[in-house]
């Protein structure tokens, strides 16, 4: 998870960085489930992993894809 987070900070291509941060959310959701919090796991998977990524992708499509 930490590796995904670090790679999110390194990638120059913002799309890749967004996917990496999505991965962070997904792993966090699994950890929530392991920590006996199914409600939160569901919310994190639905909101954090899916919707936030979609919103990011839309925003990137309307701006610039590469970090200069």
């Amino acid at each position: 998870m930490l590796a995904a987070a670090i790679s999110a900070s390194i990638f120059k291509d913002l799309m890749n960085a967004v996917i990496a941060s999505c991965l962070v959310s997904l792993i966090a959701a699994i950890l929530f489930f392991l920590l006996q919090a199914p409600d939160v796991a569901m919310a994190e998977a639905a909101i954090g992993a899916a919707l936030i990524t979609a919103v990011f992708v839309i925003a990137i499509r309307r701006t610039k894809r590469y970090e200069e």
Binding site: L2, A17, A37, D39
Partner: protein, 119 residues
């Protein structure tokens, strides 16, 4: 070893928090900064949940089979995290819409290049 085992979730959570803060402080691209915010949020949520964990606890839901004996994990942090997740989404959505507007005005997302306002 025992120490690491005990605190692994805390370490993970604060690792995420620090990576998030580092991205916010150092990176120049606005979208990157917002990604940092989202990682920071995830880290905080993980930390809150791991505060409420009880070893060998079960989820705080009474299913039909009776299982009163097992201890349940603390439900309060879970409620807090549900709230925090939604607040995080709200901030992120607003930030991204501002980023789109900023790009329209300046044609760039680099925060160092945007210096209309001076001290």
């Amino acid at each position: 070893m025992n120490f690491i085992h005990n605190y692994i979730y805390y370490i993970g959570a604060f690792g995420l928090v620090f990576i998030g803060i580092y991205i916010i402080l150092v990176k120049r691209n606005l979208i990157k900064v917002i990604i940092g915010l989202s990682i920071l949020d995830t880290g905080i949520n993980l930390f809150l949940i791991s505060i409420g964990y009880i070893s060998k606890g079960t989820a705080p839901i009474f299913s039909k089979i009776d299982m009163e004996n097992a201890p349940m994990v603390d439900p309060v942090p879970q409620a807090l995290v549900l709230t925090a997740i939604v607040i995080g989404v709200a901030v992120l959505a607003l930030a991204l819409s501002l980023a789109i507007r900023l790009y329209h005005h300046y044609g760039t997302l680099n925060l160092r290049k945007i210096k209309e306002q001076r001290w």
